[in-house]
Symmetry: C2
Subunit: 195 residues, 2 copies
């Protein structure tokens, strides 16, 4: 039963992405998605509340994973080392095996103002959960806010590099490249007289 459900959810997702790309997000209806997947509208609504949710399914679990990961990291680990060590494995777990799906998803989202806004809200929620995680670890508010921004910048840049890349490339390689560039930038801060 669980296996069949997972199959139906995947079929609905594939059908929805194909239709969104072929005829546009606004023009696609739930009955069309269900028909393309060879399933009923009722089955669609067992898996998703509406067509938009097909693009954002599973995302609501991400902030929770972030908070668990941060709570499990030993309290003596400082904010930046925490990000430097955890971001690669985290990104690989959440996004790593879905490059083709994420590329199509990215393309669909870019065509619709409501979807772009929803995507930005999602990143804002992720950012807020990182801030909360740091504050709970005793980090001051301003530092927590800046480290969360840095984490989101590194993650977004690595995802963009990875989605643009040709041929097989693990996401963790893209994260490592961006972190290496980030380290070089941090070393430039030292060249400048501090306050």
């Amino acid at each position: 039963m669980a296996r069949w459900q997972a199959g139906a959810q995947d079929q609905l997702e594939q059908a929805a992405l194909a239709l969104f790309l072929e005829q546009g997000f606004a023009e696609t209806t739930v009955p069309q998605i269900a028909a393309r997947a060879g399933l009923t509208t009722r089955t669609f609504f067992r898996h998703f509340t509406d067509k938009r949710e097909v693009l954002f399914a599973g995302d609501e679990a991400v902030p929770t994973s972030v908070q668990q990961l941060m709570a499990q990291t030993p309290p003596e680990v400082r904010p930046v080392p925490l990000i430097l060590t955890q971001l690669g494995p985290f990104a690989e777990t959440v996004f790593g095996d879905r490059r083709d799906m994420l590329r199509r998803r990215h393309q669909i989202i870019s065509t619709d103002q409501g979807l772009r806004e929803r995507e930005l809200q999602k990143m804002a929620t992720l950012r807020a959960s990182i801030v909360d995680g740091f504050v709970q670890r005793g980090t001051d508010k301003l530092t927590a806010s800046l480290v969360a921004d840095l984490a989101v910048v590194v993650l977004s840049t690595a995802l963009a590099q990875w989605l643009d890349s040709v041929g097989p490339m693990p996401l963790s390689t893209a994260v490592a490249e961006v972190l290496a560039a980030f380290r070089r930038l941090a070393s430039e801060v030292e060249l400048q007289a501090g306050p």
Copy 2:
């Protein structure tokens, strides 16, 4: 003539902000704004293309100022020191004398999806002009992209701190505080073994 025009533009801006806050952005019309300012609709359209432009007037000049500033900085100045030294004076020039207006503007923008999207596009344009400025200085694409993100994060954080602050506070003080926190974070990168 020029002086009178500046006066009219300012009166229209004040009238528009007051009406947007009192009755909502969507509910406010250009004739209402003109009437509140004691001017004609025709005068409104000499200064703004539509009511949305009242909130974004002058913003189109910002990317050009950024590029000029970056082109004038000696070529040997590295990306991070450039941001550390120029961001405070730049922010003070562009935003420094408009805290009350920016607070009201921020409040109005947060109520409307189209305005939020436009505001994000504005930040994306600013970011793109910083990336271009660095690429023209010979910085590689990935580094240029990351430094531009850092600049936008520091600027946005400082603006938020400044708009939230009570009592007189120069924007340059907020920028200096955020940069000091950023320096502490950069020093933590060194604690971590590099690749």
